[in-house]
Each structure stands twice: as structure tokens, then as C-alpha cells.
């Protein structure tokens, strides 16, 4: 070695073939890093389900409605209070559950991406709540008036959405596409049977809203339990009486809700159901047995209604992973899927805000107490 020093080991710049070879090697290193980045971004995997694809599916099914949520697009803002009775403190260390009052910014909505869809009894209704304690961390939750969710994965949601896409020729979903989806998703067939058996109430005020996804409550000692939760109305249940094929007013569900809020605050009990070891936390299509222990954590009171055009909920993303310490996510894959999808929807609609049209439920309609 002493006699034949390696020309690459000294300080002289390389030239000629060796330089070209090394230049190519450097190029290869940079290319590998760039390709890894592109792969991570999903640019090399057209079949991967991404946030952008999910947004595209909503647009394909519901059309484009700048500034509106991609799902649960038709809604009404509300405000009120959560009066905690302190019962949940034993189960969760979240400040919200200490006995006392926490202000709420809520939203009632109908599932679907059309912001001006007609109110129909069977359309899934939702209640979203943002708990904003003066001290401690906030909590956001979105709940639906169905007992279980029809799918248990992001892929299932996406495929079901596409299968429900209206056929341009008929304006209705293609039954063959839905059939084909159901054959591959027996969990959805079972869930739809449970959902079909529910008793549909007359409106938002007498609906029970369910978290569907499981979470975990963690108390000050660090003990954790699986839970699902629900808001159960104190308003007396009245069965839906809209006849099949009847056409009530396009906003009849929202106008009824506004009128009732104008008369007196509407109230729901916030109830946590404690899961047993055998209750699935990663599958929102499966109901938990009826005999599980329930914890009544306090009262949700809804006192004021606002149109989305001037209401405080319009610019809130009810991301199910905005959780205080004391409420942890479970292993339910839908939580990540919902959080990621809502975040993308929120980013899109925030950017489109100046192009947004008026909400279907107008400021005047709310001021008039639910008449137009």
C-alpha cells in the first residue's frame, strides 16, 4: 500500500472515469431518497386509499359544494352547557368530568355531502359537541342516531361510498354495485340489519346519539376501561310518522329542532357504557350487549340555535381524536380514518370559505324560530 498509494485517498479532486462513476453513484443516492419520499406520499401507489381519494369519493357522490363539510354537510349550530355530576371522575381524569359546568358548541346535522338535501326521516342524524372547559383540555365528539356503524374500516367506508354513487342515467345508486359491495363485506350486512331494526324518532330532539367507535377512559390512578358513549334525550320519544313517499318541508327536521330550542332548552344525558373484556373495541359494526354497566356523567343542555352562516360551529372540525388526557383512543381503525378525513375536509373548506354559498337553514329561519 505504501508503494502504491490509493489515488482516491488523498486530497486531489477526482477527474475522468472515476469521477463520472462516483457522480453517478451520488445521483443514485439522491434518486433513492427522492423515490422513498414519493412512495411515502402515495404518489407511486395509485391504489392506496389516501385522504385525497376519500375527498374525491365524496365529490363523486355528492357533487362539489365549496366551503361545506364533505360529509354531514347540512347542519345547524347550537350552544349550551354540560353540567357534570362528577360520576365519571372515578373513571376519567379529564377536567370536564369534575362536577360543574362546561360550555358547549354543538352541531346537529344530516349525513351526506349535499348541504341542501331534503330532510328525510331515515337519513342518519348527528350531534357533534365541543366541550371547552375554562381550565383543562377540550373534548370534541361526533355521534350518530344509529346503534352501530355500517362499516369497520376506512376501506369499507370508501367502497360503500362509491357503491352508493348515483348512476348518471337513473340518478339512483346502482343496486348491482351495492350488492357486490355487500357480498365482500358481511360485517356491513349484519350492521345494516341492526340499523334497520332501530326505532326512528320524530326528530333531532328525541333522538339518541351514539359514539359508535370505542374509546378508553383513564382515571387518575391510571386504570383504563373501554367505553362507548351516547347522549340520551330527556325529551319524550315520539315515533316518526312521516309516511313513506310523503314530502314534508325540506327543512322540517331542523325547523322542528329550532322551534323546540326556542321554547325551552333541550336536554340529553351523557352516558358512558363500560365494555367488558369480550366487547370489541376495534369493530364499530358490532353492538355491545345490552346488560353493560352505564355511567350517567351529567346533562347536556342545548339552549341556543344558530344558522351555520353565523353560528360558532361552522369553522369547527369535530375531530374524534381531539381528546383530553383521561379519554384515550381505542384500537378502532375508524378513529384514525375519521380524524384524517375530517382534517382534510376542514382544510379544503377553510380554503374555500369565500366561495361558500348560504346554508340551507338560514339566519332568518333560525331567528323566526324555525319557520320560513
Amino acid at each position: 500500500m505504501e508503494k502504491h498509494p490509493d489515488p482516491t485517498a488523498n486530497g486531489a479532486p477526482l477527474t475522468g472515469v472515476r469521477a463520472v462513476t462516483r457522480l453517478a453513484a451520488i445521483g443514485a443516492v439522491l434518486l433513492v431518497v427522492a423515490v422513498a419520499f414519493a412512495y411515502t406520499a402515495g404518489w407511486l401507489s395509485p391504489h392506496r386509499l389516501t385522504q385525497a381519494k376519500m375527498m374525491g369519493a365524496f365529490d363523486a357522490v355528492s357533487g362539489t359544494h365549496p366551503g361545506f363539510r364533505r360529509n354531514h354537510a347540512k347542519g345547524l349550530c347550537v350552544t349550551g352547557w354540560f353540567d357534570s355530576n362528577g360520576n365519571a371522575v372515578e373513571w376519567s381524569k379529564a377536567a370536564i368530568f369534575a362536577a360543574g359546568r362546561v360550555p358547549l358548541i354543538g352541531r346537529f346535522a344530516l349525513a351526506g355531502g349535499m348541504p341542501a338535501q331534503e330532510d328525510k326521516p331515515a337519513t342518519v342524524r348527528s350531534m357533534a359537541l365541543r366541550f371547552v372547559p375554562s381550565r383543562g383540555q377540550e373534548w370534541r365528539t361526533g355521534m350518530n342516531n344509529i346503534p352501530v356503524f355500517p362499516v369497520n374500516s376506512a376501506e369499507g367506508f370508501y367502497e360503500q361510498l362509491l357503491a352508493s354513487k348515483p348512476d348518471p342515467a337513473t340518478g339512483k345508486p346502482n343496486p348491482a354495485a351495492m350488492q357486490e359491495f355487500l357480498v365482500r363485506h358481511p360485517e356491513t350486512v349484519r350492521a345494516l340489519a341492526v340499523i334497520k331494526n332501530r326505532r326512528v324518532s320524530s326528530g333531532f330532539a328525541d333522538s339518541t346519539f351514539n359514539s359508535l367507535d370505542a374509546f378508553r377512559l383513564v382515571n387518575a390512578a391510571g386504570d383504563s376501561v373501554a367505553v362507548r358513549w351516547a347522549t340520551i334525550p330527556l325529551q319524550e320519544f315520539a315515533a316518526d310518522t312521516i309516511a313513506e313517499g310523503a314530502h314534508p318541508d325540506d327543512n322540517y327536521l331542523f325547523d322542528d329542532l329550532i322551534a323546540r330550542i326556542h321554547r325551552q332548552p333541550l336536554r340529553w344525558r351523557l352516558v358512558f357504557t363500560i365494555g367488558e373484556a369480550e366487547d370489541p373495541t376495534n369493530d364499530a359494526t358490532v353492538p355491545w350487549p345490552e346488560n353493560r354497566r352505564n355511567i350517567d356523567a351529567g346533562l347536556v343542555s342545548i339552549e341556543h340555535a344558530f344558522s351555520e352562516d353565523d353560528g360558532p360551529c361552522a369553522d369547527i372540525n369535530y375531530d374524534p381524536l381531539v381528546l383530553p388526557a383521561g379519554i384515550d383512543p381505542s384500537d378502532d381503525p375508524l378513529l384514525s380514518a375519521r380524524s384524517a378525513t375530517y382534517a382534510r375536509s376542514f382544510t379544503l373548506r377553510a380554503a374555500e370559505k369565500r366561495k361558500k354559498l348560504s346554508a340551507a337553514v338560514t339566519i332568518q329561519e333560525v331567528r323566526a324560530g324555525g319557520t320560513r
Binding site: 457522480l23 431518497v33 385522504q51 369553522d315 372540525n317 383530553p324 380514518a337 377553510a350 380554503a351
Partner: protein, 183 residues
């Protein structure tokens, strides 16, 4: 060693390589997170936020360290164009290491999302709620991430050029760890 045989201080080299891993990891986490609807999304977000805060703290320490311990001079043999490119790209890297975490913090504030780092550890908002501003900051966070990745690639390419072809000691001034050989 550069042509003068000088290296960055040991602390500077540690900071550089630690942050290299963190920043590159952050770029991959971020671009993966923004595409994902999978179960990994929650984990990616949970790493992205505290890692961003750590980068912000470390880059502040690093800037002070750089002012106290200036880097070894570039070799005289380096053409002027490359000298300017090196200075400019280092400036952009420093600027983006400050800007990216602050943009992330600011956009979450404007959304508004609570800026949870982990558990009950939460940063205060640095902007009032403003969805239009959120949308702008969110877009800048992505655009600057692409810019940062591009400048990182240029930085890596230049470092390898110095080390493998120019062999002027610039690469070794940051990437050699052995005992300093005698001149």
C-alpha cells in the same frame, strides 16, 4: 478537515447529525401523514408534534452555537458560485428549521385545534381562530416542506460531491469522527 484541516466542533457535529435524522424523519412523517387514512395516522400525528417542538428548541440552540463557534472556512479552491450556493442553502435550511415548526404551531392555533404535545402537555395558541388564515398556513406548511426536502437533497448531493469527488475536506469537517490526524 477542510483544506485547513479544521472541523466543526464536536457539539456542532452532534447537533447536525441529530437534527439531520430528526428533520428528514419529520419530512417523511409529514408527507405520509397528509396522505394516510390508515391506523398509522394517529401514531404519525402523535410523533410529528413533539418532534416539531424538539426541532424548534434544537435549532435555536444550534443557531446560538453557530454564532459562538463559527463553522470552519470553506476551502479557497471552491469556486465563487458554489460558495454562494453553500451560504444561501445553509441560510434556507436554518430558516426553514425555524419556520416549519412555527408554521405548524400557528396553523393549529388558527384552525383552532388544541396543540397537544402529549397527554395533558399542551402549547398555548399563538394565533386567534381564523379559518382563512389556517388554510393559507396549512398550504405554506406543505409548500415549505417540499422546499425543505429539495434543499435537503441539494445539501446531501453537495456533501457527497465534496467527499467523493472534490475531496477538499469539507465533507470531513462535518462527517469525520476519528482523532484529528497531524497536518
Amino acid at each position: 478537515m477542510n483544506s485547513h484541516g479544521q472541523r466543526f466542533s464536536v457539539f456542532s457535529r452532534w447537533l447536525h447529525w441529530l437534527m439531520a435524522v430528526m428533520v428528514l424523519g419529520m419530512l417523511f412523517l409529514g408527507i405520509g401523514m397528509a396522505a394516510s387514512v390508515s391506523e398509522r395516522y394517529r401514531l404519525l400525528v402523535a410523533i410529528h408534534r413533539p418532534l416539531g417542538v424538539a426541532i424548534l428548541v434544537l435549532v435555536a440552540i444550534r443557531l446560538v452555537n453557530r454564532l459562538l463557534h463559527p463553522p470552519p472556512p470553506l476551502p479557497d479552491s471552491l469556486p465563487r458560485v458554489q460558495r454562494v450556493a453553500a451560504t444561501a442553502s445553509h441560510g434556507v435550511l436554518y430558516a426553514l428549521m425555524f419556520i416549519m415548526p412555527l408554521l405548524g404551531w400557528a396553523m393549529l392555533s388558527a384552525a383552532p385545534y388544541p396543540v397537544v404535545i402529549f397527554g395533558s402537555v399542551q402549547l398555548p395558541p399563538i394565533l386567534p381562530q381564523d379559518p382563512v388564515l389556517y388554510a393559507l398556513l396549512r398550504k405554506l406548511h406543505t409548500d415549505f416542506a417540499y422546499l425543505l426536502f429539495g434543499v435537503f437533497l441539494a445539501h446531501l448531493g453537495a456533501a457527497l460531491l465534496h467527499g467523493l469527488i472534490r475531496r477538499d475536506g469539507v465533507f470531513e469537517s462535518m462527517a469525520s469522527w476519528g482523532r484529528r490526524p497531524r497536518e
